[in-house]
């Protein structure tokens, strides 16, 4: 039997920052401009509709929205619920606030460059390589601060894959789609990469096979951006 895989999720990640709720909703249509975003969503989870209904009649809710290779922090400009032939759809209109999440200043640490630290962060996120463990060793703690990401919206302590596999693993395709969009979001919000060029996740015998290529923010006009490649397996047993 062929292993299930995902190399582009059909779901959007919508996170209400203030209410601390996150949803992964299938997208029917999207329009992602330089200032505004419109997503036509068709929920397939019973908890999605109540969540999306909180945006109707309100504005200025702050959300993180991520779909395919795009990611933005945005405010909700409006939401409309429509039903056609028994199918519920939600149009979510957003005004973008920011789309750039790489830290303004990055430092190397003890012979490891900022790019190499970002690569370690990406490997931790995608393969659960060297997850954070408690320590009182000051050198290990200092290195940890750089690996997890400083001045970033997300600090990577471990891979999210095992925990979400626990929750969504009974539906492998859904798990893969959620893992894909969550990984893209966390890779960018942690400043590991600025662009995701390739991310293929394949379920294979209790592990997640990862094939990733991403590009960091270009630092110098006369030098190409650092490219991070990660290939390997993330164990899914927590």
């Amino acid at each position: 039997m062929e292993n299930k895989f995902c190399d582009l999720s059909p779901r959007a990640l919508i996170q209400d920052v203030e209410n601390d709720i996150i949803a992964f909703v299938p997208v029917v249509r999207s329009s992602w401009g330089s200032d505004t975003i419109t997503l036509l969503l068709e929920p397939d989870d019973p908890t999605d509709a109540p969540f999306l209904s909180t945006f109707v009649g309100t504005s200025e809710n702050r959300v993180i929205a991520s779909y395919q290779h795009e990611l933005a922090v945005a405010t909700v400009a409006g939401a409309t619920h429509t039903t056609e032939k028994g199918k519920s759809q939600w149009e979510l209109r957003l005004n973008q606030e920011s789309t750039e999440f790489s830290p303004s200043i990055e430092m190397g640490f003890s012979g490891t460059s900022a790019d190499e630290l970002a690569e370690a962060r990406a490997r931790r996120l995608l393969l659960n390589e060297n997850p954070w463990k408690e320590s009182s060793d000051i050198n290990q703690i200092a290195r940890e601060l750089f690996v997890r990401g400083m001045e970033t919206a997300v600090r990577v302590e471990r891979s999210p894959f095992p925990a979400i596999y626990q929750h969504y693993g009974s539906d492998p395709q859904r798990f893969l789609e959620i893992a894909w969009i969550l990984a893209v979001t966390q890779l960018k919000l942690s400043g590991a990469v600025a662009q995701v060029e390739k991310l293929r996740l394949t379920l294979a015998a209790g592990a997640l096979e990862v094939d990733f290529v991403g590009r960091r923010r270009k630092q110098y006009v006369n030098a190409p951006a650092y490219v991070i490649r990660v290939q390997g397996f993330c164990p899914l047993a927590s």
């Binding site: 709720i21 920011s98 200043i105 408690e134 320590s135 601060l145 400083m150 997300v154 999210p160 626990q166």
Partner: protein, 214 residues
């Protein structure tokens, strides 16, 4: 800031300071872009000043006597509109708080700016006066408040050094806080909850830190 804080500030005031600027009249709805750009310059400069600052509207020039704004002027201020204009010129983007406060039966508006969070705020766009084409806001400019309570581009090594020291001090403090946080025992991991309940974003490993979102 509340009405009591403002009253204390107005009672104590006999002069402008790096952290406080006064304006007598201002109607956000009818003000020209030049006038708004001048306010943005003050806000940019205050964001780069230790402790941030406040622009208090409804205080007479010269003797700094509180005279209050007219009702239309008072009503013209809206946090979203002010910040929409401000965001065009700030990098990284930052917002000000718009307080509308009646004090002793007079109406005042206070635009309050916090000190920058990580790195000094740079002006993002040029703005030339619509009257005489004079440059009011300079792209790439770093504005600071001077001891004379004016908002100026950084022009001396001393001012630049002060700004860098402030940014480095913030970085050091944050580094220290992060080390202390890592020395504390890690709380047990949260579960993502039941399948029939919305997922709490903070339960997903590596949750977003809202305070780090600009």
């Amino acid at each position: 800031m509340n009405a009591k804080d403002l009253k204390a500030l107005l009672d104590a005031t006999k002069t402008e300071r790096p952290s406080v600027d006064y304006k007598e009249r201002f109607n956000w709805a009818t003000a020209s872009k030049d006038e708004k750009a001048e306010i943005v310059k003050d806000l940019l400069a205050m964001a780069n000043t230790k402790g941030g600052g406040k622009v208090v509207l409804g205080v007479r020039d010269g003797d700094f006597k509180p005279v209050g704004l007219e009702l239309q002027e008072f009503q013209s201020f809206d946090q979203t509109k002010v910040n929409d204009f401000l965001h065009r010129y700030t990098d990284p983007r930052f917002s000000c708080l718009v307080h509308k406060l009646p004090v002793d039966e007079r109406l005042h508006v206070v635009l309050e700016v916090p000190e920058f969070i990580e790195i000094p705020i740079i002006c993002r766009e040029n703005f030339n006066s619509t009257k005489d084409n004079k440059l009011i806001l300079k792209r790439g400019g770093l504005y600071v408040r001077t001891e004379k309570a004016t908002s100026e581009l950084v022009s001396s090594s001393e001012e630049m050094r002060g700004l860098i020291e402030l940014a480095v001090m913030k970085k050091e403090n944050r580094f220290r806080e992060m080390i202390v946080a890592l020395l504390r025992p890690t709380p047990p991991e949260k579960s993502l909850g039941r399948r029939d309940e919305p997922v709490k974003a903070s339960a997903i490993p590596n949750p977003v830190d809202p305070s780090r979102i600009r």
